[in-house]
């Protein structure tokens, strides 16, 4: 059960989570990505990122509200096909607008 970075992170580029993650499982390409991504295969569920996020964007997978549920797929997908994940983020943002 990993943590997930959801909609409030989009276009914020805060990176507090990156600084505190003990296992460096959060990353992104700030020049391209609109949010950061947690690698669920590496996340150890410590919650340090959630506590550090000033935007309350990070939640456990089982605590995601339904409108943000797809960000779990997005985070996992980014580490396999970043372009696909970015495309879905854009669609999610557009759909929520």
């Amino acid at each position: 059960m990993a943590y997930v970075i959801a909609a409030p992170c989009v276009d914020q580029n805060d990176q507090s989570c990156v600084a505190v993650c003990p296992v460096d499982c959060i990353t992104a390409d700030p020049d391209v990505d609109r949010k950061f991504y947690i690698d669920p295969d590496v996340c150890i569920d410590c919650g340090a990122c959630a506590n550090a996020c000033p935007n309350q964007a990070i939640l456990r997978t089982d605590q995601l509200p339904s409108e943000w549920a797809d960000y779990a797929w997005v985070d996992a997908a980014w580490y396999r096909d970043a372009a696909a994940a970015r495309s879905v983020v854009n669609r999610l943002v557009a759909g929520a607008a």
């Binding site: 410590c46 580490y79 396999r80």
Partner: protein
């Protein structure tokens, strides 16, 4: 709210190439502290990176195609250039510690970057009180070693609690620091009796309370560092506040139990 067509039922893309997680360190020594605690000495390929006493590193192994890692505070001081020591308590059935217990000397492991804000302030001239349970002593071994090199060394008191005497890791090291006061405590009476333990018996909070008059610490001139289980930290924090330490003078780091460690 209307959402765009979503990918929830879509399988994840196939895994891409490795993200470059490397086995960048070698296990040099494994010492059995007790039946459930081991000390791992690790040598990073590129030398020990700069860090501050109290910080932790992620220690990991490759397992079933993925990197399995957990953060551990190092007991080594920053002036140690070649190796880092870590205290690890085995978690029954734990994914990582089970694998660490199977490691042989010479095994390649992953070592992350130093992280963490629970670190020593080198400019702090107050007396330093360290209170730990179990493997929570590790960051304090590093901190005490760093303080011991200062010419204007402040007062140092270390209170370490463990369930049994064998788990008092680094006891000889801490007992031998000039000018430092070391107070070891064993919490389980039967373990103390069985091993002939003659030191304090009880939880660190009660031992600290009983020892306080002899420690000669000025509540307004002391900084306290607490590390270990959350229950101990809550209890000792309350005790120190009652004694008169300012809230801001009490720093802590909880050793939480990560599922399947």
């Amino acid at each position: 709210m209307t959402l765009a067509r979503l990918p929830v039922e879509r399988p994840l893309p196939r895994p891409g190439p490795s993200r470059g997680v490397t086995m960048n360190a070698t296990v040099l020594a494994i010492d059995e502290v007790s039946s459930s605690i081991r000390r791992f000495r690790v040598r990073p390929d590129d030398g020990v990176p700069p860090f501050v006493s109290g910080q932790y590193f992620a220690l990991g192994v490759r397992a079933e195609g993925r990197l399995l890692q957990r953060p551990y505070s190092t007991a080594s001081a920053p002036d140690q250039r070649d190796t880092l020591d870590f205290l690890v308590r085995r978690v029954p059935g734990g994914a990582l510690t089970t694998r660490l217990w199977a490691l042989a000397v010479g095994t390649r492991v992953h070592l992350g970057r130093p992280k963490g804000l629970f670190s020593l302030d080198p400019a702090d001239r107050r007396a330093h009180l360290f209170v730990a349970t179990g493997t929570g002593i590790a960051p304090f071994v590093s901190m005490v070693a760093t303080l011991a090199t200062r010419t204007d060394r402040p007062g140092i008191v270390v209170v370490h609690g463990a369930a049994r005497p064998a788990e008092l890791a680094y006891a000889e090291t801490l007992r031998g620091v000039p000018g430092a006061r070391y107070v070891p405590a064993v919490s389980r009476r039967e373990e103390a009796d069985r091993s002939g333990w003659t030191g304090p018996v009880g939880r660190v909070g009660s031992v600290l309370r009983a020892s306080w008059p002899d420690l000669a610490l000025d509540p307004l001139g002391t900084v306290a560092y607490l590390c270990g289980n959350p229950g101990m930290i809550a209890g000792v924090r309350g005790l120190l506040e009652d004694i008169g330490l300012p809230v801001a003078a009490i720093r802590s780091e909880e050793y939480w139990s990560v599922p399947s460690s």
